[in-house]
């Protein structure tokens, strides 16, 4: 809804705006949808002038059609695939997180969603040397944990500090702060905060923590806020060419199986969805760090394929691709 103001386009002066308002035309949509001839007569303005104004306003505010060929060229040159650092997860995601898309990771408590997010941020900031924006809505991010993961990657303190500096953390504990943060990023804080560094990933852990308390009952506002968050995340991903990773909780469906939370309206929002669970039949169920990831929505790989991986992958020692995969250090407590 764009309100008519003088100076919006040549020919739209104060008197005309006042006359139009008197005739009940207050917004750009009203101008565009009304009968120009009739309106010209009512406001004592020439048909030609009003027609020209309508044309300019329409060109300014309507979305411009783009040829599919141009869109494809642009996509080819700007899309990047970010490896998550874990080969099993990469295999599931068809090489990694794609920029311009939202990828969702859902799982119950203790399933390792946050750990995966930390691991991905550390990998992107240290190995790929790109900046990461991490929006924490649960208070679960601790710099010490990131440092621990980085220590396993490199023992050079300077490199560790550099990598940590590339991870920008924002805290938002309710949906309005989250929207504020995302809108701010979109408006330019992204460029400002980084002073030249290039952001390649925006991670929100977790998006359901701030939205699910608002859902349910007869309130529409919760759903509307959820769709607003979805809209801004998508625009951010597309316009700035970043890969967006969000986490979600799980609920049980009618048939008893696990399904991601936030309902049927959120479901079409992420392009790729992964469900994380504790691996069945793991040797030591209580303390095992092995997780199984199921691909439940993807446009590139057949659905319902599973991969198992160890959460300790991102903090394995040596920093090089350890072929044995065995940890030599003391096992720290699981997430």
């Amino acid at each position: 809804m764009v309100v008519l103001r003088e100076g919006m386009c040549p020919g739209l002066d104060e008197d005309l705006v006042r006359d139009l308002r008197a005739a009940g035309i207050k917004t750009v949509e009203d101008v565009v949808s009304s009968d120009i001839e009739e309106l010209a007569q009512r406001c004592a303005v020439s048909y030609k002038a009003l027609f020209a104004i309508r044309r300019v306003l329409l060109a300014q505010h309507a979305a411009f059609p783009v040829s599919g060929a141009d869109l494809y060229e642009e996509l080819l040159s700007s899309t990047a695939i970010l490896s998550t650092g874990n080969p099993s997860l990469d295999a599931l995601l068809d090489s990694g997180l794609y920029t311009g898309e939202i990828t969702e990771l859902s799982g119950g408590p203790g399933s390792g969603k946050s750990q995966v997010c930390f691991g991905v941020s550390v990998h992107i900031s240290h190995r790929l040397k790109q900046s990461v924006i991490f929006i924490d809505t649960t208070g679960g991010l601790a710099a010490g944990r990131l440092l621990q993961m980085l220590r396993a990657e490199t023992s050079n303190a300077e490199e560790q500090m550099e990598a940590l500096q590339r991870i920008h953390v924002y805290r938002a504990f309710d949906v309005f702060s989250l929207l504020d943060c995302l809108h701010g990023l979109r408006a330019g804080r992204l460029r400002q905060a980084l002073g030249g560094g290039s952001v390649k990933a925006v991670i929100v852990d977790s998006v359901s923590a701030v939205i699910s308390p608002l859902l349910g009952g007869k309130q529409n506002e919760g759903m509307s806020l959820m769709m607003q968050v979805a809209g801004v995340l998508k625009t951010l991903a597309k316009d700035f060419n970043v890969a967006s990773l969000v986490t979600n909780h799980v609920t049980r469906s009618g048939g008893g199986e696990l399904q991601p939370g936030l309902g049927a309206s959120w479901a079409p929002v992420p392009r790729t969805r992964i469900l994380l669970e504790r691996a069945e039949g793991a040797a030591d169920v209580g303390h095992s760090s092995v997780r199984s990831a199921t691909l439940i929505k993807s446009s590139r790989r057949p659905c319902l394929i599973k991969e198992e991986f160890d959460l300790r992958w991102w903090s394995r020692s040596g920093g090089e691709e350890a072929s044995s995969g065995k940890r030599e250090r003391e096992e720290t407590d699981s997430p």
Partner: protein, 275 residues
């Protein structure tokens, strides 16, 4: 059809008249497997693809898009398509991989692909107000491109919750914006004789007696329900030997054709494959 053209020194008016009179490609034969016998979408008809997430609507839409833009030699209809993307959900890479697999091997890949893609016009809208303005703007594209026969919208339900919240307590106010879009869509359909395909995400369960959680109750405003002539209800069946099978139930209530039809398909790398 006599029309009085008042001369306002504007070329567009006469162009518009031409565009309206000239017949656009009828899409009745776009996919005979989906519709009842001889019952494909005629000029000015609207097809709605309805279903929850993961029921194959988007794949079906891409399948139909490819059918439209491919050259006749590769099994297409060679018509122009406008794709209205309401939530950045167009997966261009997937669309191109389907097109690639369907183009004949003997044609030079780059040029043929480019030609197909240039028949596709993509427009992105972020609110229902912008959708209304964009549909007005598209009128000029419709006038100047007589080859344009299909308007695809993915999805028409994207702004449902945003509009509902903005409308407050009054249902009329909630549905006002979308109703305006639909009114305009109806006018474009009548004047330009195009066909519209739109996806609509199912979000409401309907509880009917014993079986609950059936996602097929229409929830968008009445004008939309009246505009739709063919309703394709998409659902997913239990995977047998790891293959997801999707079913489509078509209910046609057009002026010429009324009837039901059912079909099933699964999704491969090359797109939709009917069973």
């Amino acid at each position: 059809m006599a029309e009085v053209i008042t001369s306002h020194g504007d070329n567009d008016v006469s162009l518009q008249l031409f565009a309206r009179l000239e017949a656009r490609r009828c899409l009745k034969d776009i996919e005979p497997q989906l519709f009842p016998e001889h019952g494909g979408p005629n000029h000015g008809e609207v097809v709605e693809l309805y279903g929850t997430e993961g029921t194959g609507k988007t794949e079906l839409l891409y399948h139909l898009l490819c059918r439209c833009v491919l050259p006749v030699a590769s099994g297409g209809l060679e018509v122009d398509v406008v794709f209205v993307d309401t939530n950045y959900s167009l997966d261009m890479l997937r669309l191109v991989s389907i097109l690639d697999s369907r183009l004949n091997a003997d044609e030079s890949d780059e040029a043929a692909l480019h030609l197909c893609l240039s028949r596709l016009l993509v427009v992105h809208c972020s609110s229902s107000s912008q959708l209304v303005l964009t549909l007005h703007f598209l009128e000029t594209s419709l006038s100047s491109r007589p080859g344009l026969a299909l308007l695809a919208i993915d999805s028409i339900s994207a702004f449902y919750w945003l509009d509902r919240c903005e409308g407050g307590a009054s249902v009329t106010k909630q549905e006002e914006k979308l109703s305006k879009c639909i009114e305009l869509l109806g006018r474009l359909l009548r004047d330009y004789r195009i066909t519209v395909f739109a996806t609509c995400h199912a979000i409401r369960r309907s509880y009917n007696g014993s079986s609950c959680s059936d996602y097929d109750r229409p929830y968008l405003c009445r004008p939309w329900q009246r505009l739709v002539t063919h309703r394709l209800l998409c659902s997913r069946q239990e995977a047998a030997n790891n293959m997801q099978v999707f079913t489509v139930h078509c209910t046609s209530s057009g002026s010429m054709t009324k009837g039901y039809s059912s079909s099933s398909f699964y999704v491969t790398d090359r797109g939709v494959k009917f069973i």
